[in-house]
């Protein structure tokens, strides 16, 4: 992997990209559900899919500073694309992911030409508007999408021609875990690449980026397209593992929820989406057991507490804690 080059500055930048023990521990922990809580694999699979979706939002929000309140547009596109392909005869899961990611990516690439010209509030409105347009389009095109009844007749073939999707979500969980891990590796590589550094530059100071001759628009277009592809893959994953698609995949609620999860977990921390999704979905599962009507009350409380006390989210808080323990230990 990374060999010491004998050059101090090069090694220093190489060290930033090195895998940390906490990261390895995190990925080992993702294996736990199958041993510790085998009854909850269904939920674990859903968490992974949602975490992957949140990771795609982190790429644009946390790294390029592009705020989106309509990211479900791409999740839903991926979900419907894979679902419709399956309904009309192509239910192979791995290529289904490519179909979902591809359709979302094409629309994302088109949208990115508008997105890259705006920042802040205007961006929130544009992304929100795009989300609403797609949601209403899916609603009105009942012949294609099933409308409010959802898309029926989705059938996912065996994964790699061997594993069938069982009732207990065992295959769904392992499949979602494998896909999430592979995509995460790609995102991680991207974050620590020269392109990732340029995205952080845009987030930190886009005016200054122009003054050093940077191609801000091209960078944002690329990041937005990649984020749309990943969101589409996550949507396709949901379709394949549940064998149905509902309008909820394109809803504003889903766009808002994924933003909440990312903020809970920590924006621009790479693991914020995955950890935020875990906390959020487990909290929803538990709280809605206690009181199915008012569970969002607790999410609201948690959100305020995190934003007030942990400006970099749970991951930021954990990092701080880790650093403090490290100092005390030495």
């Amino acid at each position: 992997m990374a060999r010491p080059t004998g050059s101090q500055p090069v090694d220093a930048l190489a060290a930033e990209a090195r895998w940390r023990p906490a990261e390895i521990a995190f990925w080992l922990a993702t294996l736990l559900p199958s041993f510790v809580t085998p009854d909850y694999l269904q939920l674990a699979g859903q968490i992974l899919i949602t975490g992957l979706f949140a990771l795609s939002l982190d790429l644009i929000l946390g790294y390029a500073g592009v705020v989106s309140l309509g990211h479900a547009a791409f999740f839903g596109l991926g979900a419907y694309a894979a679902g419709i392909a399956s309904k009309y005869g192509w239910g192979e899961p791995l290529t289904g992911l490519l179909i979902g990611g591809g359709v979302a990516g094409i629309v994302g690439y088109g949208a990115s030409f508008i997105i890259s010209r705006f920042r802040g509030l205007a961006l929130i409105m544009i992304t929100l508007g795009l989300n609403q347009i797609l949601a209403e389009a899916a609603n009105s095109m009942g012949w294609l999408t099933g409308g409010a009844d959802g898309l029926q007749g989705v059938h996912t073939w065996l994964v790699l021609g061997v594993f069938h999707f069982d009732l207990y979500g065992v295959t769904a969980y392992w499949y979602a875990l494998a896909v999430t891990f592979v995509v995460f590796l790609l995102v991680r590589r991207m974050v620590y690449s020269p392109f990732g550094l340029a995205l952080r530059g845009i987030r930190e100071n886009s005016t200054r980026m122009l003054a050093i001759g940077a191609a801000n628009h091209a960078h944002v277009r690329k990041a937005f397209t990649i984020a749309a592809i990943i969101a589409g893959v996550a949507g396709a994953l949901l379709t394949e593992t549940t064998e149905t698609v509902s309008l909820e995949t394109l809803s504003f609620g889903r766009s808002a929820d994924v933003l909440v999860m990312l903020i809970l977990g920590g924006v621009g921390q790479l693991y914020g989406g995955l950890i935020g999704a875990t906390i959020y979905m487990i909290a929803r599962d538990r709280f809605s057991d206690i009181n199915p009507q008012y569970w969002y009350f607790w999410i609201g409380l948690l959100l305020i507490a995190v934003v007030v006390f942990l400006p970099n989210g749970l991951v930021g808080g954990l990092k701080k804690l880790g650093a403090a323990i490290g100092r005390r230990g030495s």
Binding site: A2, T5, S7, Q8, P9, V10, D11, A12, L13, A14, E16, A17, R189, M190, Y192, S193, P194, F195, G196, L197, A198, R200, G201, E204, N205, T207, R208, M209, L210, A211, I212, G213, A214, A215, N216, A218, H219, K222, I226
Partner: protein, 250 residues
């Protein structure tokens, strides 16, 4: 020989407020040219016009003889016309090594690469390191920019500009906010830069201006009042009047 930077008849107004009126000058290669004038004379506006952050209403800007009047700011940067900012405009949560490496990598077109680690661009990192070293910032280059002392941040402004390999460097009050004792040091660093580099700087401290400038432009209310060598400017009645006048009113 072609001038490094030429301005011809630059005009700009915001409504009825004229901020640049018939600005024309020529900077030969290697010139150290100071732009002086009272507050509100339009000095920063002129830099914004030259770099393309503002569009002039009319007039022409030539960089090495080439018309750049219609090019967007980042294109002008890539052609060698680079500025720094009067108020620090840096990347607070990047460290200086990352920030300068970013500027070098942008110049070399390496930031398109999203599948290889940053550390694989060893040449860019080494070049950034060299720039930081030459500005004596190597000791702090692993600390986040927002943690650096103010004077170090001013130097980082210049380091970022140098990383783009400018032909013409526009420095907007490089020593703004730096204590007087340190501003001399900062200018000797600037003065030590390559003689192929043309430097155009805004500065209020007349000691510094007369020490480092080979040529001086005086700007008053959006117009160039006069230009000349430091000796000519020092002897000019009108300049004294402008500065004494400004002092009286200020």
């Amino acid at each position: 020989m072609t001038a490094a930077l030429t301005a011809k008849g630059l005009e700009k107004s915001f409504g009825s407020l004229i901020v640049a009126s018939d600005i024309a000058f020529e900077l030969p290669v290697g010139e150290r040219c100071a732009l002086i004038g009272p507050n509100g004379a339009g000095k920063t506006t002129l830099i914004n016009l030259l770099t393309g952050m503002l569009q002039p209403d009319s007039g022409q800007i030539l960089l090495g003889g080439e018309d750049i009047s219609r090019l967007p700011p980042q294109r002008r940067v890539r052609m060698g016309l680079v500025r720094t900012f009067q108020i620090n405009s840096l990347f607070p949560r990047l460290n200086p090594l990352e920030a300068v490496t970013l500027a070098v990598a942008e110049r070399r077109g390496e930031t398109r690469d999203f599948l290889r680690r940053l550390a694989t661009k060893a040449e860019s990192i080494e070049e950034a390191w060299g720039i930081l070293k030459s500005l004596r910032l190597d000791g702090v280059c692993y600390r986040e920019t927002r943690e650096l002392a103010y004077g170090q941040q001013r130097l980082l402004e210049i380091a970022l500009a140098l990383a783009t390999r400018p032909k013409v460097l526009l420095l907007d009050e490089p020593a703004a906010g730096v204590p007087k004792e340190e501003s001399g040091e900062l200018f000797s660093v600037i003065d030590g830069l390559s003689r192929d580099l043309t430097i155009f700087f805004i500065e209020h401290d007349m000691d510094v201006v007369f020490r480092f400038a080979s040529r001086i432009l005086v700007m008053v209310s959006g117009r160039l009042l006069l230009e000349g060598t430091p000796a000519e400017i020092a002897a000019d009645e009108r300049v004294r009047e402008v500065y004494l006048g400004a002092a009286h009113h200020g």
